[in-house]
């Protein structure tokens, strides 16, 4: 198991390398590529939505097909684009930031990725197999339980499998951050991106099981004739709504907190100042995570829960504005008195502040229950969540990618193209979504395939669509940027931004084992401290020694493949019980792999210290 011969590998070898890798840096790249692909796909679906709505009574797509596009847009963007892209950044950065050689469970890390991909592929296979899910990304019963065809079954199985992957990833990061920190890296010295990863992983741990159960019940109702959500059998559809939102609301913080983490890294670096109010930032992160579990019913104000429940959840929801506000002001005061450099990463971070503030404020407006009776399920809500998601999460991902690209790929993304992307995307974004606030109150519900002429909704929708085209343009420029940079870009050193945290203390390209010697951490912004003391490198915490590394394995890939097969079996066994064979084969593969894994000892291998100097593991 030597990785020394990294030079001229054949394509096959590279492929095998990625299929079997357990290296967090490579898994990060896998997440990036697949998440990026799904982002383009989700964006394409968004374009179809906007084209359909460009004018009243349009029929660019049919009504039923529109619902499929809309459902897949939401589902793809949330589960298959935003989350994996966030995981890409976490995988690429978190172990480096805490001075670790690897994550706690490299094998599970790989498994988590492959499960996500298997789930995503199952979900999207529905396009070719009789139609995609069409009950909205929230899949409210009984529409979802009665939706004809197999669309919603693909939703159920796809999300179930990728959800399992997410849960695994969450546990992995939790343990990594608890157990793998370098000496001296106390909790209150962890960079904020690591902190947000930690909190988000805990949210995943507590939120995803509710979705798991919800999906199981939905699956039982659709495929095995149970009656959880079927009023005629005594069931109750409100159960699904609760289960979905007990998961769903924490989910939106799962998306935004890592973005907060990204900005908390970028703003200090490019204003050359320490993060203002670090302790308060940590505290606010934890508080947001905590409160995030007590507000889910704000998505259900119009369901009929009664004024008492609505009021309680309304007030609890508003409370989240406080810790979020603490963050906003701390960022502003990080900039205050700084020496601010504006590059692409910084442009995204800076524009995030007003954009997200708008989105958050509309959130608080939504939280006012009696006002939400008007807002709910209109384009006002659509505007709210795209402001926080695109203006927060997507900007965060773009910012993070520009910032960490040299760490991940050793090159800086082209600044000119980067700025072009930023400006078109930014302007397009506001054009698309600002006007939607008004559309909503003017009487345009969301999830509408079309709207009638002569209801005062035409101009607003037209502007919105124009904006979406600008965003598409910006995104395409970004893709070009990636290609151009990888072909022509110049290699840079390990610390191109004058960084403050540990990931910049490593030479480029990052060695397989990350740190030759585990660094000794002496405070917050560990690397910055050393630089201020006139050193170029971290002080090591240990002598050079053999480095223990985990073995690569193809098992994660095969396990995911097993579930992929079983997924189809579950879906089609209602039509023909012969498909049960696929269930058994798939589950057999899965259990077989688990068996092999537990029976085969895997002690990993060592890179010997003599080889380290010869460049082993690069």
């Amino acid at each position: 198991m030597s990785t020394t011969i990294a030079q001229n590998r054949s394509f096959g070898a590279a492929l095998w390398d990625y299929l079997t890798t357990v290296d967090h840096k490579k898994i990060g790249i896998l997440y990036l590529v697949s998440g990026g692909f799904f982002f383009l796909l989700g964006g394409l679906e968004a374009m179809a939505i906007r084209i359909q709505l460009i004018k009243p009574a349009n029929d660019f797509v049919s009504a039923g097909f529109y619902n499929q596009i809309l459902t897949m847009h939401g589902t793809t963007m949330i589960f298959l684009a935003a989350m994996p892209l966030i995981f890409a950044l976490m995988n690429a950065v978190v172990p480096l930031q805490i001075g670790a050689r690897d994550v706690a469970f490299p094998f599970l890390n790989a498994l988590g990725f492959w499960l996500f991909l298997a789930g995503g592929l199952i979900l999207n296979a529905s396009w070719f197999l009789g139609g995609a899910p069409d009950a909205g990304w929230t899949a409210y019963a009984p529409l979802s339980t009665t939706s004809p065809g197999h669309g919603v079954d693909f939703y159920v199985l796809g999300l179930q499998i990728s959800g399992a992957g997410t849960l695994i990833a969450g546990i992995n990061f939790l343990v990594t951050i608890v157990n793998m920190r370098a000496p001296g890296m106390t909790y209150m010295r962890m960079p904020l991106f690591t902190w947000t990863t930690f909190v988000v992983s805990a949210l995943i741990l507590f939120a995803f099981p509710a979705l798991t159960v919800g999906l199981f019940l939905l699956m039982f109702d659709r495929l095995f004739g149970s009656g959880f959500f079927d009023a005629s059998m005594g069931g109750n559809s409100v159960i699904w709504e609760h289960l979905f939102w007990i998961f769903g609301h924490p989910e939106v913080y799962i998306l935004i907190l890592p973005a907060f983490g990204v900005f908390s890294e970028i703003l200090p670096v490019f204003s050359k100042k320490r993060l203002f109010g670090y302790t308060a930032m940590v505290f606010a992160t934890v508080l947001i995570g905590f409160l995030g579990f007590m507000v889910w019913a704000h998505h259900m104000f119009t369901v009929g829960l009664g004024p008492a429940a609505n009021s309680i959840f309304a007030v609890a929801t508003m409370a989240i504005a406080v810790p979020t506000g603490i963050k906003i002001f701390n960022w502003l005061f990080t900039l205050w008195g700084g020496n601010i450099t504006i590059n692409t990463a910084m442009l995204y971070s800076l524009s995030f502040i007003p954009t997200f503030t708008i989105g958050g404020m509309t959130g608080v407006m939504l939280a006012a229950a009696a006002a939400d009776y008007q807002f709910h399920d209109t384009y006002f809500v659509v505007a709210h969540f795209h402001y926080v998601i695109v203006g927060g999460v997507v900007f965060g991902i773009f910012a993070g990618l520009h910032y960490w690209w040299p760490r991940m790929f050793g090159k800086i993304l082209d600044e000119k193209l980067g700025k072009l992307t930023f400006w078109t995307f930014f302007i397009g974004f506001h054009l698309t979504f600002f006007i939607q606030h008004f559309l909503g109150l003017m009487g345009m519900p969301r999830r509408y395939w079309t709207f009638l002429p002569d209801q005062g909704l035409d101009t607003g929708n037209l502007i919105s669509t124009i904006g979406a085209f600008l965003m598409a343009f910006g995104t395409i420029v970004f893709v070009i940027n990636v290609i151009v940079t990888s072909v022509k870009g110049e290699k840079v050193g390990g610390d191109p931004w004058d960084g403050r945290t540990l990931e910049w203390a490593i030479a480029n390209p990052t060695p397989h084992y990350n740190f030759k010697q585990t660094p000794l951490v002496r405070g917050l912004d560990a690397f910055w401290i050393e630089k201020m003391d006139g050193r170029k490198e971290m002080t090591p915490a240990e002598p050079v020694d053999d480095i223990h590394m985990p073995n690569s394995s193809i098992l994660p890939f095969i396990m995911a493949l097993g579930l992929f097969i079983a997924g189809f079996g579950f879906i089609y066994q209602v039509d023909n019980s012969a498909w049960l064979a696929a269930v058994f084969i798939g589950m057999g593969i899965l259990l077989g792999c688990m068996f092999i894994r537990s029976v085969k000892d895997d002690h990993g291998y060592h890179i010997h210290k003599e080889d380290l100097d010869k460049g082993a593991g690069l």
Partner: protein, 353 residues
């Protein structure tokens, strides 16, 4: 810096221009011009919260602008390393406490409005109407008056009316933006909400919960008329005679055909059948099936092929469509019959002051 702000300003100008062009949306549809109690309460709350938000936004933007103007890197200062401030207790307390106070300003009216809109103290003494959401049409049953109607909900103006809402299939949501906010219809629990229209008028209603392909085509209307007109309407509707012979020959034949082909789903009069819209006062509608133009041609088109107009609607299952047993001519006769179903002189046109 200039470019920055300039672009944002241009953006705002463009959006506000668009807004002015389209006004605040169409009257009797938009939530910006409330014509009923619920809508007014909600709008007040929206305005309060919006005011707080604008204040917050201004504060944030002032700091933001100062920061960007003052602290950008200056020529010759590339290597300047600013003071590494850790934080500031006083500031942090300020920006914790002030938002809390601001939130209280929003929370108090929120709670009071929420309870206000859920008030059921007058339920027993006033008109109660049962609302049923169906894929993709609305049914209204005036239980005490024994009146059944669909699509158009007639109410007396200036009076609080209770709606008791359920769904017969999937979730729907009853929304008349200029009268009141939404309330979902669920298949297993009955929801109660009251409405009160301030002025006579025809108000647009929309279904606001994804309910299938034709979710966006599930419009309905509230027709608010004066108290006397409403009473007139009630009497006329109660006196409706389904057997009454229409005037024209064509309509008479239409009636026959209707009885044979349509009555299995559609009902006339106070019959409680609710598989399909009640057509008692169909001739007074302003839209067919909620969204289509009201004219004979469209009606014939609808009866011949409803799927073409509303994807996934349940009329497509009709027997006569499956075996194609009705000719164009016969459908036209049915249309004649339906169009003359005007048991009352109270129509949406009466809903003007």
């Amino acid at each position: 810096m200039k470019g920055w702000m300039g672009k944002i300003r241009a953006l705002f100008l463009l959006s506000s221009l668009a807004l002015i062009l389209s006004g605040c949306g169409r009257e009797n549809l938009t939530a910006f011009l409330p014509k009923g109690y619920g809508a007014e309460v909600s709008l007040n709350l929206i305005i309060i919260s919006l005011a707080v938000m604008i204040f917050v936004f201004i504060v944030v933007m002032i700091i933001y602008t100062v920061v960007l103007v003052k602290y950008r890197r200056k020529k010759g200062q590339e290597d300047y390393i600013p003071k590494q401030t850790e934080g500031n207790k006083a500031l942090e307390i300020i920006w914790t406490v002030i938002p809390i106070l601001l939130l209280v300003i929003i929370a108090v009216p929120t709670v009071s409005a929420t309870f206000d809109l859920a008030d059921e103290s007058e339920k027993e003494d006033t008109l109660n109407i049962k609302v049923t959401g169906n894929q993709y049409w609305w049914h209204f049953s005036y239980e005490d008056e024994e009146i059944q109607t669909s699509q158009d909900l007639y109410i007396p103006v200036g009076k609080r009316i209770y709606l008791n809402m359920v769904s017969s299939d999937v979730l729907h949501s009853f929304w008349v933006p200029s009268i009141t906010g939404k309330m979902d219809t669920n298949p297993e629990n009955e929801n109660t909400m009251y409405i009160e229209a301030y002025e006579e008028g025809v108000y647009w209603g929309k279904c606001a919960e994804l309910c299938g392909p034709s979710h966006s085509l599930m419009d309905f209307k509230i027709v608010a008329v004066s108290e006397e007109e409403y009473n007139q309407w009630v009497t006329d509707m109660q006196n409706f005679d389904a057997e009454a012979v229409p005037e024209t020959a064509s309509a008479q034949e239409g009636q026959e055909l209707f009885q044979n082909n349509c009555i299995s789903c559609h009902a006339l009069g106070s019959s409680p059948v609710a598989v399909a819209p009640n057509l008692t006062d169909f001739g007074n509608r302003t839209k067919i099936a909620g969204v289509l133009d009201f004219d004979k041609e469209t009606l014939v088109g609808w009866i011949s092929n409803p799927e073409e107009f509303k994807e996934g609607n349940k009329m497509t299952n009709a027997e006569y469509l499956k075996n194609g047993s009705l000719s164009e001519e016969e459908i036209s006769k049915i249309a004649d019959y339906l169009l003359q179903l005007k048991p009352t002189t109270i129509t949406p046109e009466s809903a003007t002051n």
